[in-house]
């Protein structure tokens, strides 16, 4: 028997949601009887972890023809040849899994089309139809099946992109769980005092995640309740990150340098989150950030805009959803949690119980196996053509 060959197309190996999802999925999946190759557009700090689980090839990002300098454009044909050469032996792909819509760019670089294509879509409109050009979007929509980790993405695929519902598998996201409560890190690691009311976010600091609104939220909270020893910390960015330019500008204008700090990403996210009092997500649009699940498992109440897909985890009772971009209502929730510690604890507890019940990575992997890999093992006799 020749092992069925599964190629996973991913955009990166950095410590952000989709790569961490992939790492966790591969850890939890039963990989026996499968040959798995990961093709990444770029590397990152999770590369070594992924290499422990599968062969990994990093081939480089496609050129942005609208924004690239002429020199970069001129180099693209050679880069394309190099990418294809790097993947030339992948001729026997039984299944290609696209992890994030952007990764579809790697599909044409395979020497022959895969026998079957499954796309795991983590984004809402901003990461799919708004981001992909027409050929890439068409290639994505040609997938045999789609996996959505939350109802918002499933709805977007069906309602906005016209994907038939029977081609969509809704498999709730999960993160690794062992049933225990995390031990909080010392708050000094988050540059916060013990008596502070510590509001945490955890995300890459790009515009969609809205660190600028996080800064404004902090300033609004301080303006409304100057008596509260607020501390707002964003986990996942260093202070000098260029993506924080807008946030830094406004932080200076708001004189909020002590109030808001950015701290680097951490592999022990849940224990870091456990040191906080509340979790906030100021994303302009976010399908289902796994950091929110981590925060729920850390026992924090969740506070998000209703423009994302996290609502099913938050409500009822696990926190608050507010209309975008209503920071005043966010502050209402934070003030209420500050003034009512038992209420805050209860909300955090409700979120934790929901996360434990519905968002276990092992459950997700089992469902994924059934929906995506089911029947693949043993279906292909040795020597059969790809």
């Amino acid at each position: 028997m020749v092992e069925p060959h599964v190629v996973v197309l991913g955009h990166a190996a950095d410590r952000t949601g989709p790569p961490m999802y992939l790492l966790q999925l591969l850890r939890d999946l039963d990989r026996s009887g499968l040959r798995i190759t990961i093709v990444l557009l770029r590397g990152g700090e999770l590369l070594a972890d992924l290499q422990e689980l599968a062969e990994v090839r990093v081939v480089g990002e496609p050129v942005d023809s609208a924004a690239a300098l002429p020199g970069r454009l001129a180099e693209e044909p050679a880069r394309l040849r190099a990418r294809r050469a790097q993947l030339a032996d992948l001729r026997d792909v039984d299944l290609a899994i696209v992890n994030t819509a952007w990764s579809i760019h790697a599909l044409p670089w395979l020497p022959v089309p895969p026998a079957r294509l499954v796309s795991v879509v983590h984004e809402l409109g901003a990461g799919v139809a708004d981001l992909l050009d027409r050929p890439a979007l068409d290639a994505l929509l040609a997938s045999d099946r789609f996996v959505a980790g939350c109802g918002a993405v499933a709805g977007m695929l069906a309602d906005d992109l016209g994907v038939p519902a029977e081609r969509i598998d809704l498999i709730p996201y999960g993160v690794a769980q062992d049933g225990s409560d995390p031990v909080p890190v010392d708050r000094t690691q988050l540059d916060a005092d013990d008596d502070a009311f510590l509001v945490l976010a955890a995300a890459v600091p790009d515009r969609r995640k809205a660190p600028d609104l996080f800064v404004h939220l902090a300033a609004t909270a301080r303006r409304r309740r100057p008596d509260v020893p607020w501390a707002f910390r964003w986990i996942g960015a260093t202070e000098d990150d260029p993506r924080l330019a807008d946030a830094r500008t406004d932080r200076a204008l708001l004189d909020a340098g002590d109030l808001v700090r950015f701290v680097p990403p951490t592999p022990a996210l849940r224990t870091a989150l456990a040191a906080g009092d509340a979790f906030v997500l100021t994303s302009r649009q976010d399908a289902f950030p796994l950091a929110a699940v981590e925060a729920a498992l850390a026992g924090l109440p969740l506070l998000c805009f209703a423009s994302g897909g996290i609502g099913a985890l938050v409500e009822p009772d696990g926190g608050r959803l507010v209309p975008f971009p209503d920071l005043e209502s966010m502050v209402d929730a934070l003030v209420a949690w500050h003034d009512d510690p038992p209420g805050r604890t209860a909300a955090g507890g409700a979120a934790r119980e929901r996360a434990r019940r519905h968002h276990d990575a092992a459950d997700h992997a089992r469902a994924f196996d059934r929906a995506v890999l089911g029947g693949l093992r043993g279906d292909r006799p040795a020597g059969a053509p790809a």
Partner: protein, 346 residues
């Protein structure tokens, strides 16, 4: 009860743009009101501005004057004698030449210089004393003229930024204006969040933000996405204008408010904003600095700490909900009433 004499406007025949507009507004009565008398002092009326206007005595038009100036002078003297108790508003430099004819005039006389008179003032224009038929009061209503300081030493001078010759036409729907490139530096994100905070009330009031933008500028895609996501993209209308600063002057008429929500480096036109806002009755709303104290413009601003979009949203609602916004006297009658009080006090 004594009937108040009708005011008399004295001005030149050939008027530049600013003075001409001011005179036309002063000389055009509100609907149903009588036409004020106008004496057009010599010079050629190339624009035909006064042709057929009732109650107008154009000095050069008196045919007898051409043949015998004394008869023309006599006719003018009679004309003025009949109006000897009327308050007189002298508009522009040329009107001051009427002073010798007004020595025996018993009413109040107010001179309104405009920026068109700047050159003459710089050249040392003499403002005749009141005893010699000159004005009792010199009233500046233009910021640009005030800023020259040319009338600084004139004891009869008064800065009257709130005076308007005519009420502005109200726009079809309540408007708050913003200007400059509609981008983040200019604060489009903050304006959007302010609108979002009070969008139900603003829609009920039929209000909107009109954003006067330089040609070629548009709301960046990512900011437009935010406005759509917040459900307020319909509340901001961007209108390209080749000269936003001039637009402040010509398009602010009737606006309920002016938004100054920019970040450092934003296009502000600070003084023009303040003066135009005050004069048009608009509130200045946003995060800008307070008005320069020497402009004496108070009570026309709702300024919040940077980023307080809730306060900005509330200020927008309050501004568009105002029914009577003009801060000073409007029209000729209000002007002469105010002038007579000043002269009496003086």
């Amino acid at each position: 009860m004594t009937r108040r004499p009708a005011p008399l406007i004295v001005t030149g025949g050939q008027l530049w743009r600013t003075t001409g507009r001011l005179v036309e507004q002063l000389a055009t009565p509100p609907a149903g009101a009588p036409w004020p008398d106008v004496v057009v002092w010599d010079e050629r009326d190339e624009d035909g501005r006064w042709d057929g206007r009732p109650g107008t005595f154009v000095v050069r038009d008196r045919p007898l004057r051409a043949r015998d100036p004394r008869l023309g002078a006599l006719e003018l003297r009679v004309h003025l004698w009949r109006r000897r108790a009327a308050p007189i508003v002298l508009v522009g430099r040329v009107a001051l030449e009427s002073a010798p004819w007004l020595v025996h005039h018993r009413g109040t006389r107010t001179w309104l210089p405009t920026t068109d008179d700047r050159e003459a003032l710089e050249a040392g224009l003499t403002i005749p004393p009141a005893a010699a038929g000159g004005p009792h009061e010199v009233l500046t209503t233009e910021l640009d003229l005030l800023r020259t300081g040319l009338l600084r030493d004139e004891p009869r001078h008064r800065w009257a930024p709130g005076f308007r010759a005519a009420a502005p036409d109200a726009p079809a729907r309540p408007e708050v204006l913003a200007w400059g490139p509609p981008d983040r530096r200019q604060g489009v994100d903050l304006v959007g969040r302010a609108l979002a905070a009070r969008q139900d009330e603003l829609r009920a009031l039929g209000a909107r933000v009109r954003w006067i933008a330089p040609p070629g500028s548009a709301i960046p895609d990512e900011e437009a996405d935010d406005l759509r996501r917040a459900g307020v993209d319909d509340l901001i209308v961007v209108e390209p204008d080749p000269d936003p600063e001039q637009a402040l002057r010509s398009q602010f008429e009737g606006a309920a408010g002016l938004l100054v929500c920019g970040r450092p480096g934003a296009w502000t036109a600070e003084e023009t904003t303040w003066w135009t806002a005050f004069r048009s009755g608009a509130q200045v709303i946003g995060f800008g600095p307070p008005p320069p104290p020497d402009l004496d413009l108070d009570g026309r601003a709702d300024l919040a700490p940077f980023g307080d979009v809730a306060a900005v949203g509330a200020a927008i609602v309050a501004a568009v909900g105002q029914t009577d916004r003009l801060p000073g006297p409007v029209g000729l009658d209000a002007l002469v009433r105010a002038a007579s009080q000043v002269v009496r006090r003086g």
